[in-house]
C-alpha cells in the first residue's frame, strides 16, 4: 500500500516531529507500506528530489511560494505535484497539518484521487468557516486525527462536521536508548529543552530559578536548545544575578537528549502557546523525570497534575517557582511522580501503540473510502 506522507519538514531536520516522522516511516515500512515523502526545503539549500534510506523525498517550495505570493512558483509546484501523484499513485495521502501547504494537495486531489488523512499537529487558528483553508481542509478530509484531546476539541469546535470522523492518536516514541540515572540532588538541575523562542516561556523558568535559588542556592537551570531569544535570556539571568546558576547547552542532537535529561532532577515546560502535545514532556517521562508544565494545549494530557508532574497556570512565574521548589524539596515525591510518568509513557505513549493505531486507520481508510480513479 502506497502512502504519500506530507510533512512540512523532514530529514535532515531533526526536531521532534521530524524524527518521529522518520521513525514512523521506517517502522511502517516493516508493515509493508511504501512511502513517498512530500516536504519543504525549510531554510536550507536541499535537493528537490532525494531519498531517505529507501524512501523517496520530494521537496517543494510551497510555503515560500505562498508567502511570496508568487503565482509562477505556485503553478510550477502544483504541476510538479500533479506529476508526482500520477507517478506514485498513492492509496492514501497522509497530511501532517502544521501549515497551509495542504492547499496544494487539495487543489491537485483530482490528479490521483485517494483517501486523505489529516493529522493536526499544531494549535490551529481560531477560524474554521467555509471561507478558510482550515475549514476547507478539515471538511475535505476523510479522517482527522489530532495528537491531543485539546487539539481535537478545538478542531471540532471549528468544524463540527468532523466529529464523527476524527479521533486522537497521541504521539509515541521508542523506548530510551540509555539507562535511567537517579534524580540528581547535588546540584539539583532543572532542565528546559527546546527552541529558545518566546512562546516556549523559558524566560519564566529563569525568573522562577531566581526565586528558587533564594531557598536552594545550589539549584541550577540548564537550558538546551537554540533560538533568537537566547541573548535576551542571558541578559535576564545576569540582571537577576543568577548568571552562574544558568547554563546554556546550545543545540543538542536527538541522540544526546536522553543523557541530557538524566542530568536533570526535573524538566520544566513553561510554554505560553497552545502546545499540541509537548514531545519534550514525553521524553522526560521516558527518563523517569517529573515535569512542571503550564496548562496549555495538550500538555496537561501528557503531564498529569499530581500523578506524573505538576501543572501550573501559564505566565505564572510564582506558581512555576513554587512547583519547582516543591519537587526539589521533596525528592521522594519527585521520584514517585517520575516513576509514574515513566510507566505511563511506556504504556500510553509507546511507539507500538502509535504504529498500531495508524496501521488500523490506514487500512480502514484505504478499504472503506471508495474513490474512483480518473478514466
Amino acid at each position: 500500500m502506497r502512502v504519500l506522507f506530507w510533512t512540512e519538514l523532514f530529514w535532515p531536520y531533526v526536531g521532534g516531529v521530524e524524527v518521529l516522522s522518520a521513525q514512523f516511516i521506517r517502522l511502517m515500512r516493516e508493515r509493508r507500506y511504501e512511502f513517498a515523502v512530500v516536504t519543504s526545503h525549510g531554510s536550507l539549500k536541499l535537493p528537490d528530489e532525494d531519498r531517505y534510506e529507501d524512501t523517496p523525498v520530494h521537496r517543494f517550495p510551497f510555503l515560500k511560494a505562498l508567502s511570496e505570493k508568487d503565482i509562477g512558483q505556485i503553478a510550477a509546484a502544483r504541476r510538479r505535484l500533479v506529476r508526482l501523484k500520477e507517478a506514485f499513485a498513492p492509496d492514501l495521502v497522509h497530511v501532517q497539518f502544521t501549515d497551509p501547504s495542504i492547499l496544494f494537495h487539495m487543489q491537485t486531489a483530482d490528479a490521483h484521487p485517494a483517501p486523505c488523512l489529516v493529522s493536526i499537529r499544531v494549535g490551529l487558528p481560531d477560524r474554521g468557516g467555509p471561507d478558510t483553508l482550515v475549514g476547507r481542509a478539515l471538511r475535505s478530509a476523510d479522517w482527522v486525527t489530532a495528537n491531543s484531546a485539546a487539539m481535537l476539541a478545538h478542531a471540532r469546535r471549528l468544524v463540527p462536521e468532523i466529529t464523527s470522523r476524527s479521533c486522537v492518536i497521541y504521539n509515541g516514541l521508542p523506548g530510551p536508548s540509555v539507562a535511567l540515572a537517579p534524580l540528581p540532588t547535588d546540584p539539583p538541575v532543572v532542565l528546559c529543552l527546546g527552541r529558545i523562542v518566546r512562546d516556549k516561556g523559558f524566560d519564566l523558568a529563569v525568573e522562577a530559578l531566581a526565586a528558587v535559588a533564594r531557598r536552594i542556592p545550589a539549584a541550577r537551570l540548564l537550558i538546551a536548545g537554540d533560538g533568537p531569544e537566547r541573548p535576551a535570556l542571558e541578559r535576564q539571568a545576569q540582571e537577576l544575578g543568577i548568571a552562574d546558576a544558568v547554563r546554556f547547552a546550545g543545540w543538542v542532537s536527538p541522540e544526546a537528549v536522553p543523557a541530557l535529561i538524566n542530568e536533570a532532577a526535573l524538566v520544566v515546560m513553561p510554554s505560553r502557546w497552545e502546545e499540541a502535545f509537548g514531545l519534550v514532556a514525553l521524553q522526560a517521562a521516558q527518563m523517569g523525570r517529573p515535569v512542571v508544565a503550564t496548562r496549555v494545549g495538550g500538555l496537561p494530557e501528557v503531564v498529569l497534575h499530581g500523578e506524573t508532574g505538576l501543572v501550573v497556570g501559564k505566565e505564572d512565574g510564582a506558581a512555576l517557582a513554587e512547583a519547582i521548589l516543591f519537587l526539589l524539596e521533596h525528592p521522594d515525591e519527585a521520584a514517585r511522580l517520575g516513576e509514574a510518568a515513566r510507566r505511563r509513557a511506556a504504556d500510553a505513549f509507546s511507539m507500538e501503540r502509535y504504529l498500531d493505531q495508524h496501521d488500523a486507520l490506514y487500512r480502514r481508510l484505504i478499504k472503506e473510502v471508495a474513490h474512483v480513479g480518473p478514466a
Partner: protein, 158 residues
C-alpha cells in the same frame, strides 16, 4: 449595479492570477488573501481576462454548459459582484477590445455547476503558525545514521 454590457478587467495592480488545469488561482497582493475558482469559475476568469462583456461571457457559458442563458447571467452577475467586492476585478471603463470570435457551441454541453469564488481568509494566520527559525546554517549533506536523522535544527517539537 452591473449592466449586461459592462466589462470587467483584472485588478492587475493588486492581483496575481493564473488559470491552471481549468482552475483560476487568484491572490490579492495587498492583503495576502487567496482565492480559487474551478470549472465554470475558471472559464469565467479566463473570459474576464479577455475583457469580454458580461452578456458575452454569459452567452459563452450557456453555450459550453448545460444551463439556460438567464441562469448563467444571474450566476455571473452574483459572481462578478463578489469579485468586485473583493477588489479582484474592476469595471473596465476603457475602449472595448476587438470583438471576440464566437465560441462554437460544443455538441455535448458540459454539466453545469454555479461558479463559486472560494476564499481562504486565514492564509496569513497559517503561514505565521510556526515561522522557520532565523539564522539556520546549511548543514553538510550526509547519509542518515541507522537510528536517527542527522542534520539541521528543529523548527518545532510537536
Amino acid at each position: 449595479m452591473l449592466a449586461p454590457r459592462d466589462r470587467l478587467r483584472v485588478n492587475e495592480e493588486d492581483v496575481a492570477a493564473k488559470v491552471m488545469d481549468g482552475e483560476a488561482i487568484i491572490i490579492n497582493l495587498t492583503n495576502g488573501l487567496y482565492y480559487s475558482m474551478d470549472n465554470v469559475g475558471g472559464v469565467i476568469w479566463s473570459l474576464i481576462e479577455e475583457r469580454r462583456s458580461l452578456e458575452d461571457i454569459a452567452a459563452s457559458i450557456a453555450g459550453l454548459y448545460d444551463v439556460s442563458p438567464a441562469q448563467a447571467q444571474a450566476d455571473l452577475c452574483r459572481l462578478a459582484q463578489e469579485l468586485l467586492e473583493e477588489k479582484l476585478v474592476l469595471v473596465d471603463e476603457g475602449a472595448a477590445p476587438a470583438p471576440a470570435s464566437v465560441d462554437a457551441a460544443p455538441r455535448d454541453r458540459r454539466p453545469y455547476e454555479a461558479p463559486r469564488l472560494q476564499t481562504y481568509r486565514d492564509m496569513a494566520d497559517l503561514l505565521a503558525l510556526d515561522p522557520p527559525m532565523p539564522g539556520l546554517k546549511d548543514v553538510p549533506w550526509r547519509e542518515p545514521p541507522p537510528t536517527s536523522a542527522g542534520g539541521a535544527d528543529k523548527p518545532e517539537d510537536g
